[in-house]
Symmetry: C2
Subunit: 135 residues, 2 copies
DNA sequence: TTGCGTGCAAAGGTTTTGCATGGCA
DNA sequence: TGCCATGCAAAACCTTTGCACGCAA
């Protein structure tokens, strides 16, 4: 049973309008406050959690200690599996999507019995720009 | 410049003796306290951070909100690249190491300019046992 | 009317920091 | 002696929870 409240609508509207994709609880609260539609942060946490369960929002855990990122599912990765890769050095977040990664998923499931969830998995490493700087 | 202190030696000794590999700050403090060699937890955090920088210890960020895991590097993955995979359902942690994953690394670097760090990367998903339970 | 949703504040857990003291080189 | 390391407590940070009140159905 899912009530339709004003707060829920506001949160969804913001997620939908947020084109860059990755939004934190703080972003949501801050934006709504600025628009004079304040919503309690506990409510934002609780609503986002529900939306994740419903599958209309995706939660990314990018870093330990940093706030979690949320994305309106319909806004993103419509073109197949998409992974996130984060650079340890500059902190930039990349989206990677290609056939090899699809195969990775198949391989893991067939040979290791593990079904990877691209929405939760983040690759860590270094991007080319940062490697150039070091050399 | 790196001083050689009693505390540092104690921490390294425990990491070295810890065969299962993944150890939290709390594990370290608890063990040392039991052995009557108490070390302040701030010290443990600071020393482990240094060891990570030096490359002799690996830090795994398994879950948001849960404590980070540390591993004495010499104790592990002697047999090539090893990735971690964590089951969302049962929470079990698996070690995965095979040729396909080596290739994944090469592919990411060649085609996406991203050099993945297996020591920091954790795959999330569901293991076969948990999937069987659901079906 | 029923009971889920909200908001505030407090609590929870992990990690970081300030500052005076201790100990390596 | 100089300076890094330590230890304690407090702070910082994100997230969860308790509880009274509000509001959708």
């Amino acid at each position: 049973m899912q009530y339709k409240t004003k707060q829920r609508e506001l949160i969804i509207e913001f997620l939908r309008s947020s084109t860059d994709g990755h939004v934190t609880v703080n972003d949501v609260c801050g934006f709504l406050r600025d628009e004079n539609h304040s919503v309690g942060q506990a409510t934002v946490y609780r609503q986002l959690e529900k939306m994740v369960d419903e599958g209309i929002v995706t939660k990314y855990i990018i870093d330990q200690g940093s706030p979690a990122c949320f994305e309106y599912a319909a806004n993103s990765h419509v073109h197949g599996t998409c992974f996130h890769a984060k650079c340890d050095k500059c902190g930039k977040l990349f989206h990677i999507s290609c056939d090899e990664l699809e195969q990775l998923g198949e391989h893991l499931e067939e040979h290791h019995g593990f079904r990877i969830n691209p929405l939760r998995t983040v690759f860590y490493g270094t991007c080319s720009s940062c490697r150039e700087l070091c050399e």
